[in-house]
């Protein structure tokens, strides 16, 4: 079995972003960038399937400019066999991501395609489902367990109010939940080794995909802040204030 795992380069989970003064976009210049956390779960699970002898090859793919090589090197350092960069300077929206990934899937013919369930920058959560639609294959979103049985993948999905178990025919697209696993730490020698590995680069224009934006961002702004509250010194004062100021009697 061959696994294709898609990874996105995003502003690190721990960094708070701010809006540019002219409201045109988010100011991410100079911020620490990392692999999208959910994608890291996807890479980890691919590697575990390989270590169990189920997967033969794990191929990581990222879309974007040359800076994206760092998340691909991270995937290689974690243990991915190969890495592909689909190079473009365009700002890619989910549908364009799905179309480019479809083109990569057609070149690589993987049995299983893994993506994070959402990227923590755009918070759209669409690329995996869109890719499954374009490939006309089954999908499993928000998965927290993955097991291969014959020509099906059995997944547990984290849904509102509980979990659901599905059997999906291969090839299938899965999107991963944080609950799926704890990604491994990358050891320094592995990172050094990953630096020497070749990253295959394909120009997005060579894939014959029209990746034009389908929506324009008119402006971005800081969210309205909640009015600053008050400190109380005791449980009794809290109850008193809730009763006096809010009319709430607990």
């Amino acid at each position: 079995m061959k696994i294709l795992v898609a990874v996105k380069r995003v502003v690190d989970y721990n960094i708070k972003v701010y809006v540019k003064p002219d409201g045109s976009n988010v100011d991410i210049e100079g911020l620490k960038m990392s692999m999208n956390p959910f994608d890291e779960n996807a890479v980890e699970e691919s590697l575990r399937l390989k270590e169990k002898g189920i997967a033969r090859e794990v191929v990581a793919v990222s879309l974007g400019n040359t800076l994206n090589q760092d998340v691909l090197r991270h995937a290689l350092a974690m243990g991915a066999d190969r890495a592909i960069l689909v190079e473009t300077d365009a700002e890619l929206q989910p549908l364009a991501v799905a179309k480019l990934l479809k083109a990569v899937v057609e070149r690589e013919n993987p049995d299983l395609i893994l993506l994070g369930k959402q990227a923590i920058d755009s918070d759209a959560g669409q690329a995996g489902q869109m890719l499954a639609a374009l490939l006309n294959c089954g999908q499993g979103t928000y998965v927290s367990t993955i097991n291969i049985e014959n020509d099906e993948v059995i997944v547990t999905r984290e849904v509102d109010g509980g979990t659901e178990t599905l059997a999906i025919s291969l090839p299938a697209v899965l999107t991963t939940d944080l609950r799926l696993n704890e990604p491994r730490f990358v050891k320094l020698p592995n990172l050094m080794m990953a630096r020497k590995k070749q990253i295959e680069t394909i120009a997005a224009t060579d894939l014959g995909v029209v990746a034009e934006p389908r929506f324009n961002v008119l402006n971005v702004s800081a969210p309205p802040t909640r009015k600053s509250g008050i400190r109380v010194n005791s449980v009794q004062e809290l109850l008193q204030k809730l009763s006096d100021l809010e009319g709430i009697t607990l």
């Binding site: 972003v17 489902q129 869109m130 979103t141 599905l166 324009n216 800081a222």
Partner: protein, 317 residues
Amino acid sequence: MNKLLKVLVLAEHDGAQLNTSVYQSVSAAQTWGAPVDLLIIGKATNAVAKQASSLAGLQRVLRVDAAHLEHLLAEDAANIIVRIANEYQAILAANSSFSRNILPRVAAMLDVAMITDVLQINGSNTYTRSIYAGNVISTVQSLDVTQILTVHASNFAITKQGADAEIVELEAPAISSKSRWLSQQQSQSHRPALSSAKVVVSGGRSLGSAEKFEQLLSPLANRLGAALGATRAAVDAGYAPNDIQVGQTGVVVAPDLYIAIGVSGAIQHTYGMKDSKIVVAINHDPNASIFQVADYGLVADLFEAVPELIASITPAH
């Protein structure tokens, strides 16, 4: 505001009842002033369709009923929607794991974009939504002919009832057979549903263990008739089950009262609760960022303050 031709709302239900968020998504759909149809997919959906027909402002309730739709799969749901999509200029649903599983698939099949978790509809094709876990608000204008979106239900009013819309039965397309439903595990709880509870009691990692989480928060939630929530840190530490996680990647809540116990206030968590009417935070750390979003903050030892709070509350039942 430009008038759209027609709007379709996808309903989430449990086979017996409509999800509360359907009432809010229908009122979101009415923003455009165009006729609104509600789509109900499932097995034995008679009662649900009847309930839906009473929602004010609906032109039709469309019912697609078949045995294989009992546990709805994204592939089947998308095929059903795509088959009727050309009648509609906008297709929407309340944002949830249900709608986010289905609508992106529909959008790709129609070769259009989707806008996730819309906070506000500003015109025929312009939307406000949040990015970066709610740290940034983005206004986007769709360039597509068909608008597909999920809406942030708590930002929209609950539509009135008392109407009597026509119920129309549609035939189900052939089963897609790309995946099979095997089983589900619903978390059993005597408490109100987290996403629609009036009061939510939420716990963070400071509680220290699953036992303490239960010991401290359960009686408080019981006294208040509240739903229980947790931060991702508490869930990851195994103090609480995953399905009660409040935040960017969990459930988004907007109760009348949100009580955060030992919650640090990471942005990923506050994303899921900052629309609460009143926020009370109790934390031992005076610098915890939860105090920046709390209306009432108490710096105290949780293990003293919470029992005192419980003892001071008149029981709900």
